[in-house]
Symmetry: C2
Subunit: 282 residues, 2 copies
Amino acid sequence: MQGVLYNMPTKDIYIYIISDSAGETASKLAQASVSQYDELNITFVRKTFVSEKKDLLESLESAKEHNAIIIHTLISKEFIQLANDYCKEHNLFSMDLLSPIVNELATRSEIEPNRIAGAVHSLNQEYFSRITAMEFAVKYDDGKDPKGFLDADIVLLGVSRTSKTPLSLFLANKNLKVANLPLIPQATLPKELWEVDPDKIVGLTNNPEVLNKIRQERMRAYGLDPDTAYSNIDKIQEELQYANDLYEKLHCVVINVADLSIEETASIILEALCLEEHSFLG
Amino acid sequence: MQGVLYNMPTKDIYIYIISDSAGETASKLAQASVSQYDELNITFVRKTFVSEKKDLLESLESAKEHNAIIIHTLISKEFIQLANDYCKEHNLFSMDLLSPIVNELATRSEIEPNRIAGAVHSLNQEYFSRITAMEFAVKYDDGKDPKGFLDADIVLLGVSRTSKTPLSLFLANKNLKVANLPLIPQATLPKELWEVDPDKIVGLTNNPEVLNKIRQERMRAYGLDPDTAYSNIDKIQEELQYANDLYEKLHCVVINVADLSIEETASIILEALCLEEHSFLG
């Protein structure tokens, strides 16, 4: 054994995701947990779409070699038993992510789970309507075709850099058809806007200083002078005033995205528009 | 108490998501667990962005009223203790989703977690590059501008209805810049395609029968005759042949999406293009 090192770097920690499906739930948990640390050396290994017993065993053996933290989402009783027994026998840290809730639901409902791997991703109606919603968001992004406003579940309005596109896509992933329109004081508003139910419209706004900073960054990224009209603070204030006046006329919900992530803004929109049941999709 | 009913409907089960952040991880787990049952009456309640002790207590009390299954993602030690104690005291079923992995990481690394709520969604560089990737996907969807091919991390090719758009957006959410191009035998291929590193290109294909069915559905959805040239099986086979010939010329990865969900196809793409570290994002 070597002597103790000063400034010893963090030990490498392995996290294994083992799943009979795409492993998205376990990955999300791993990501949320790791984000609580600023400087860990983590090696992530994904063993996904495990459908054969020998693949499961190989994955577990590989995890054992690295003394990995194991997060598994398996649905076959036999696989769960095998994984849990293996980890216990070899003293491996593991988290069986699905069993607690799946078993509790079985106890309460007295219904047996179907135990079909990746049932969450099955090609059902919900899945196809999500794809439709994504295509809708792309088609009606950036005011490309105002006809989309009338078919949309949500119409997002906002000046440049108020997260309209990423918000539209995030909400599309929750099976909502979203159209968005950039607000530009000089441009004519499409007449369809006045035909939309105001309860479907969300007006996005931001703080002038934040927009100023973001837009300067954007100009720099394009290799241009950061101080153009686009990033001028008076100009920005004028734009925001124009947007706010419009929101008042439309009587729509207004959200300031300055301190919000996409997830947070989306969550507020779903609540404000009474679409909270969509939170669980995607 | 009323008499026993025949054909008694399933009891309503409440699932409460309690989180100091957007509750996306817990929602994903709830969704995956519930998808294991075909016919449960579940009422989902989300108590998110809980930042005050009194809000946490109110959420727990509300969950107790419905004897709810509780899944919580809390990071403050005080909140975790409060939630766990409350659930124990009132005999409520609860799952503390974050603690097992967060605590195990602390033990192994000897580093304390920062315990900042919603750290996963913080407005860091990764977050901004995800937004950039989403905007990229929308901008370079459907072959709109072949210049995007040269800046893309992944270029997806495929005939109509091979999931190019939803795949591009799904991968964008994992911080990858994706451009896609629909393949149409009569159309001229953009010259940029031949300048792209073949290791970045993915050729999507599908089974003719599947495409036939999907396209007929699409025509029906448009209120048109389902049996047009678009859905004609010989025509489809011709298109697929054209696509496969091109993939051979390009020496690119080819994936048949016929039996795959978006998540599964994305997972295969990340592995094939050695981009697996992106699996953990989004």
